[in-house]
Structures are given as C-alpha cells and as structure tokens.
Symmetry: C2
Subunit: 449 residues, 2 copies
Amino acid sequence: MLMQDVRNSLDIADLNQLKCDLNHLQPVDVGEYISELPEQQRAIAFRLLNKGQAIDVFEYLPTDVQEELINSLHDAQVVHLVEEMSPDERAELFDELPAGVIKRLLKELSPEQRQATATILGYPEGTAGRVMTTEYVRLREGLTVGEALSKIRRQDEDKETIYYAYVTDDNRTLVSVVSLRQLLFTFPEVLIRDIASDRVIKVKTEASQEEVAQIMKRYDLIAIPVVDREDRLVGIITIDDVVDILEEEATEDIQKLAGVSGDEGALSSPLATIINRLPWLLGIMGLYIGAASAIAPFQSVIAAVPVLAVIMPIFSNTGGTVGIQALTVTIRGLGVGEVTPKDTLKILRKELLAGAGTALALGITMILLSLIWARPQERWVALVAGMVMVTNTIVAVTLGTLLPMGLKRLKLDPALVSGPLLTTMLDSIGFLTFLTLISLALKVFHLKP
Amino acid sequence: MLMQDVRNSLDIADLNQLKCDLNHLQPVDVGEYISELPEQQRAIAFRLLNKGQAIDVFEYLPTDVQEELINSLHDAQVVHLVEEMSPDERAELFDELPAGVIKRLLKELSPEQRQATATILGYPEGTAGRVMTTEYVRLREGLTVGEALSKIRRQDEDKETIYYAYVTDDNRTLVSVVSLRQLLFTFPEVLIRDIASDRVIKVKTEASQEEVAQIMKRYDLIAIPVVDREDRLVGIITIDDVVDILEEEATEDIQKLAGVSGDEGALSSPLATIINRLPWLLGIMGLYIGAASAIAPFQSVIAAVPVLAVIMPIFSNTGGTVGIQALTVTIRGLGVGEVTPKDTLKILRKELLAGAGTALALGITMILLSLIWARPQERWVALVAGMVMVTNTIVAVTLGTLLPMGLKRLKLDPALVSGPLLTTMLDSIGFLTFLTLISLALKVFHLKP
C-alpha cells in the first residue's frame, strides 16, 4: 500500500512528495522501488535520498543496479556509499564489478575498510569466511562489565550486532562470549571473565555456509563467531544472512530434485533457463535411449499383446511417483540435518515396511485395471502386471532411499539423483522385467494372445 | 564429538561424570541425547540436570518425551518446569497433552503464566497469535532512556528478547519501537518518545506464520510485534521461530511437489508414511486410468506400428521432466515471495521463449531416435514424433507455469499441482495427440506399416 502511494507521486511528478516518501519508507522497500524504475530514472530517484537513507538503501539494491549507480553518481558520493557498506555486502558487490572499478574504489577506501574487504574476498565463495562481516564487538578478558559497556557505547553505531561481544586474549584468540543481556544484568564492577561463557559455539573460516546455517539454527543463535586456523577471531555471521542461506539451500534442493541446476529464479532470462535445464533434459533423454532400447527388441511381443502398451505407462508413472516420494523425503531429511548416512538402515527399514503396504495396494489395483483393458485371451497378463507392480514399488523405494544416502556417504551432493534420473532408471528396470516375463510366459506356456 | 564423550560415560555407568557433562553441554545437545536414550533411562538422565539446565533442556525435548517426563517426575518439579517454559513452547506442549493433565498443570501455574498460555492457545494453529510469545519488553512513551534502561534491567531475565522494546500508550496500543542499541547510544535524560521509531513493522494475530516469516526475512528483523484487531500489543515473534517456520514451509513445498502430504519426517513411522503417500498414489493412478483409457482404443494402431510403444515412454518422460522443471521454479518463486500472480505473463513469456528452444532441441533428438528404432516402412512416424515432441514441450511449460499461478490467484495452495499430477495430465494429452495423429496418417495416406 505504501509503495502504491509512492508510485502515484511519481506519476504526478511531484518530486518533493516523492523525496519525503522515499526518506520515510523502509530501506528494503525503497530499494525495490528503485530497482523497478526504468534505468534512466533510477539515479534521479536515488539522489532524492538523504545520506543515511542512501547508505541503507544502497545495500538492498541488486548488484547490477548498484553497479549502474556507481557509474552514474559523483565519485565522492560513490566512495562514501561504498565506505559505509558493511564489509560482507561490499565483498559481494566487488565480486561482480569490473577489475578497473574495484581498483579505483579500493584506492579511495579507508585503510581499515580496504583491509576488511580484502580479508573477506580472500576466502572461497560459499564459505564462512566469505559471508562473515568483520564488524563485531571484541573485548579483552580483563575488563569490567562497566568498562565493557562504555566500550560498546563508544563503538561505531554501525557494528552489525552489538548483542554479543566476543572476548579474546592477547593473541586475538577467541576465549569466551558474553551477551549484552548479561552485561546489562550484572553489576558494573564485575570482571568480564567471571560472567563470560567459555562454551562458545564457533565456526572456522573454511566451514561451508550451509554448515554454519545448520549450527546457528540448531543453537538458536543470532550471531556466530568465525575463527581462523589458529583460533583467532576474524569475523561474525549474523542471523539475517543465515535466513537467506537456508532459503537458498532449500531452493537448490527443490530445483535439483526437479532437474534444474544452478539457482534459477522464477524470472531468470530464457537463455539462463535453457542453460539450467537443457543439459538435464538431454542427459535424461540420453539415458532414456537405454530404457527405450530395452523395449525395442520386444516390439513383436507388443504387437502380439498390444494391451502391454496401455499397462506400461502406468508402471512408469506409478513406480516413478513412489520412487520420487522416497527420494524427496530422504534428500530433504539430509538437507535439514534430520538424518545422516548412519540412519540409512533405519530409513530403509521404514521405507520397505511402508513400501510393502503400498506395493500390495498398487499390485491389486494393477491386476484389476489390466483385467478391464485386456482382451479375454490376454487376461493372464494381469497377473504378471500385478507381480511386476509389486517388485517395481519395492525397487523404487529402495533406490529412492539408498541412492541419496550413498552419495551423501561418499561426501557427494545427495540431490545429484534428481527425480527424472530416478524415474528413468526405474522405467528401464520395470519395462525390462515386465517384457521379459511376458515373453517368457508366451514361450514357456505356449500362450497365444 | 562431545556427545561421543557423553555416550562413553554412560557406558561405564559413571553417573558423576555424566552429570558433569550434561550440565556443561548445550541444552539442545543434551535434549537430543536424552531423547535418544531408551525410555526407562530418560528420567534418570534428566534428574541429573541442575535446575537451570533442566529448564533449558526441557524446552528442547520433543513433545512426546516432555509428556513422558511429566508423567515420571515429581509433581513439584513438573510444575516448576512448566511454569518456567516460555509461553509459546508451553502452548505447543499443551496442544499435545491429554485434557486431564493440562487441567492439573494449569491449576498449579501462576495466574500470569496461566493467562499467557490461555491467550496463545486461543488463536488458531499456524497463525501469528499461536507462535508468538507473551514475554517482551513494553515501555511507556513518557519514560526517559535512563528509566527505560533500568526498567529493562529489572525485567525478568527470561524475556525472550530484550533487544527491542515496544512503546505503547495508555490503551496498550503499539505506537513505536526502540532498540536496546538506541537506548545504549543515547543520553539517559532523553525521552523515549524522541528516539523511538514510529515506522513499526508489525503483524496481526491472525496473520499466517508464513506471512510473518516472509516479512521478518524481508526487513531483517530479529523480533516482530504482534497486535490484536484494536492495534494493542499482545506478543512478539522471535527470529529463531521464523527460521524453523521457513524450513517447515520449504519442506512442505518440496514434499507436495513430490506427492507427499503432511509434514513427513525422514524417520516417520511406516504407517504415517503410507498415510501421507498412498492417497496421492491412488489418486494419481485413478487419473492415470484416464490416460490409459485414452490409449486403450488405439491398441490396434500399436499392434500395427509397435515402434510406438518404444517412443511413447520418451514423450511421457521428457514432457514430464520439462513440465516439472517449470512447475518447480514457479512454485518455489511463489513460495519465497520472489513472484506473485501479477507476474504470470512475464513468467509465461520467459518459459515459452525458453520452451521454444528446448522444444526444437528435443524435437530433433526425437526424430533421430525414432529413425533409429523404426523399421524402414515406419520411418514416417519419426516426423509425427518430432512434431508432437515440440507441441508437448510447449504444453508442458505452459501448464507448469499457469496451473500454480492460477491456484495462487484463487488463493489456493499452488503446490496442489504436484509433479505426478502434472505428468499424468501431460501424458494423457501427449499420448492422445500422438496416437490420434498416427491413426489419421494411417487412414488418410493409406500408409501401411
């Protein structure tokens, strides 16, 4: 609703009203509004922001819009904006900028901020070191609560979180943590070392961002300290970044299951869409050549018993669905850390028990369906169909469970077995079993369709 | 690793060492350890915890273990535990307990906690009112910063978050918010009303928990106030709950796409597994009867041109994969709030552009494959197969985009179109088109296979 008001004031070209609105709205909303403007209007709207708001809004803009603004604003303003960004956001922006622009900007930054950016950019993408910020509150063990509080008060207001302070020794080694809450509830003359907790949950710079997210979720933390190999404090990761990481990871899991690689947005370009999806499709089709080649030699059997062509897609569809159900539950369980490879047997037992019930229900349904469609002389096919449906279901839950678990045990991404890959495997197995059994039956019992 | 140590000390039955470990580990780890113990040992281990740790650990136990402990601990201890739980956790527990036990416990609670629990339980499941906690810091507008800080210091240490304080007028109406950070950075004599921000982001008690989670994620909040219809402050929701809600929602999206309803865990019981999955399976199979019935009348065509039985599963598999890719990206985009129904045309255009490229690639592949498998006199089938592959791909991306968008526009759950449902629809359409065209070709051109 608020954004509607802003849009109206742009329509009537009342810049004063727009300026007032843009400076009173939440930075994230203003950021969204500016990114949705036509390119030539973005810099105009951005210049309407006062200093503090401009800094806040800038961090919420997509990287391409940030880059555009960097090219169209005055140099002094750009340097100010970039200087005031939090170091993790700045590193993310620098990742995308052309080398020339980065060089120019780095030269203008304060030594402290330049150092912070270089540190973060030194860690590989997707690690704790890369997503951390270097703005945090650090205290020495020997301080009193009162001294600590006045130190926190003197800190730059921009520190990402002041709700935890990290206590280090003379070598910058992380020794304990104290919350602002604890500081407030304690008498000023008490020593920090007497109230700080040495049960510090921390991560190494090289930890993967997913690992960090899972740890923070598990322990309900709003910030976690990041240490280097010598256990020296180098940064913190805050909960807002973790929320984004968890969503990204979930999106990746979902998309990989559907055979979409990369982190495709619903509004990605058609070309990016094709690039993310076509390799999967062609790969799957390639595999399917295997499945189809398995059927090809049986063409004469199908010509003799054409009801098979009606029954086979049902195997394919139902087996695929059963397999994908097991696969999805397993991959998601691994993704949220609910299960680990050591639970493989436990999950397999459960899947097989549930699968047996399902197999029975589906087998009986299959027999009934086949009886309906088959010509009188083909009724015996129903029995084979029912049997294969049962084994197919059992194979489907087994593969759906064991494949992702096996990949995880090999330290590979369990979502490498996408749904389409699994259904293709199941089709090959199912078709081959079914058609082989049918031709055997035709031969052995001299059945004539 | 820590847990490994604990397990060892249980093995050697050294209760003193175990007691020491259990009281020094993180509550969530101890909670996990106790839940994994055999039933008869849980109460023993729990009694080793000292008071504060027991309270913290209790909140992390699964509801069934909490219930078990309530039945095996002394009444006084139970009342103390339940009294000290945060009101939202307590409400969650009471949801599961038998009415008799709740009645007994409620009688023993302090009037204040009884009231808090009753308030939360009064809101429907899945709403902001149900997941909020009633423990928060409330300030009057007229206070000074110094008074506010000493009020916060006097508060119960257990308030879920003291990092934001909410400012209300005499009617308890929420008027503004002030962060602990602001309070610390301001001189004590300044009035709260002069520094508090009236741009308060808040939610109504009846807002859905997903909506709350999306808002907190968007604005990077660590807590959000919940107000009733008269705009009176009734509670807050904290970020740790939101992290759980976002994960639950993602899991639900993933599982629904795969045709699993409910919130199935990887370690759910076999019966729960069957209950969550079988209805989908049978429903899908039921629909498939439609698809198969569409093929049944064409049995004579298949008997005449058996290569069709080799080609048809490829349509089914590839069309299904293309459709599920589009469906998944759209549903996830809606789920994370990246797109809304007003973007339908934008997404459809992108999917169709990408789909056209994909369709061409797949169509050509299909022609080549059909040429390989067909007997010489059947080569014309390849052309029809290529054409149908193209239309099939286009139909797949169109349905994969429009169906979830349409459901969302009707305010229904877009994930109601699960992957298996979509593939079933695509199969019916694809098979029918293909077989109809083939029989037409056979008739019109008097082609003899």
